[in-house]
Symmetry: C2
Subunit: 193 residues, 2 copies
């Protein structure tokens, strides 16, 4: 998505440890008008699938998932990190390694909101090593639901997550794939659109 | 908001400890069409104010804030719980007591995204003792921004948060205020609209 690549080049900042900060429009401040363009693009890419639910994981995926869901006319379900007193005992659960936060956390999703009748589109802001998406895929498998696709805003193509998911035959589409990045430059992979 | 009260009566479940579960449409599964009605209502209530940013706190406020922001044409900034490696050192910070999770956590917001030029509408899903909103108010004060209002989806009127905020002169509006609830009934406060 050309407009996204331009936005990353304009507003993104590369930090030590291969961290790309896009917190001015994506995951701290959220540029709602721009996220609507992202939602439209996800609908262009996955709109032919019989999606019944959009699934994401808290926190930074939620806004993007909600805006995107408007184009599909379906609800969002967001998986939660760690057990909350407000959740039922009746949960799908898995464990996810967070490299950003350096720890393992539980990801949970109420059985009420995902069943074998569901056709799911996973939406998330970033894909690096793929642990978060992998965790969501496991929850969807536990539910017996059909995974129709995974839509990612920014994929770090130099990490393994995307490769692993595609090798499993998952219909993964990332709106921008970063081939390499340094303090002074960000290069994107060419994509057919 | 009549439609919200009806939705709570239809889908809400009261659990021990004065917990109202509305996770089928508000804070686990998100009914996007219904949240759009909520967004329109917030715009009806606060649309005459010169809002430049909508501020919320992760995680369950984010979806509501993003959908609502579309009616105001402004960005969302969501405050984060606890220090993340992906955030700048340049932060507004405060501490918030969570009764749901039984602990105190840090809430942070990057100084880049809130300044004295901003006119802020706080949006959140629940108001009970008011600690989360109080924390956001402190961050807004640190920024020197103008707090134009606080929009809450569901206020627990039998807890102190709303009273405390209104006594401070804060322009707080809750779309549904619960006067009392038991296993078998939920009563709402009458509101002028």
């Amino acid at each position: 998505m050309k407009a996204l690549e331009e936005k990353i080049l304009q507003d993104g900042q590369v930090r030590p440890g291969h961290i790309l900060k896009v917190d001015s429009f994506l995951n701290h401040q959220i540029d709602i008008e721009f996220i609507n363009e992202i939602g439209k693009e996800f609908h262009r890419l996955f709109g032919d699938r019989p999606i019944t639910k959009i699934v994401t994981v808290e926190a930074s995926g939620i806004g993007i998932a909600c805006i995107t869901a408007q184009y599909f006319g379906v609800p969002v379900v967001f998986a939660k990190k760690a057990q909350s007193l407000n959740l039922d005992g009746s949960l799908y659960t898995t464990k996810v390694q967070s490299y950003t936060h350096g720890r393992v956390y539980d990801v949970i999703l109420s059985k009420k909101f995902l069943t074998e009748d569901d056709h799911v589109l996973i939406i998330d802001d970033f894909l690096a090593n793929g642990c978060a998406v992998q965790g969501l895929v496991e929850l969807i498998e536990q539910a017996g639901a059909v995974l129709e696709g995974v839509g990612i805003v920014i994929e770090k193509g130099f990490q393994d997550g995307g490769k692993t998911l595609r090798e499993k035959g998952i219909n993964l589409k990332s709106l921008a794939i970063i081939k390499s990045m340094t303090d002074t430059s960000i290069e994107f992979e060419e994509q057919e659109i």
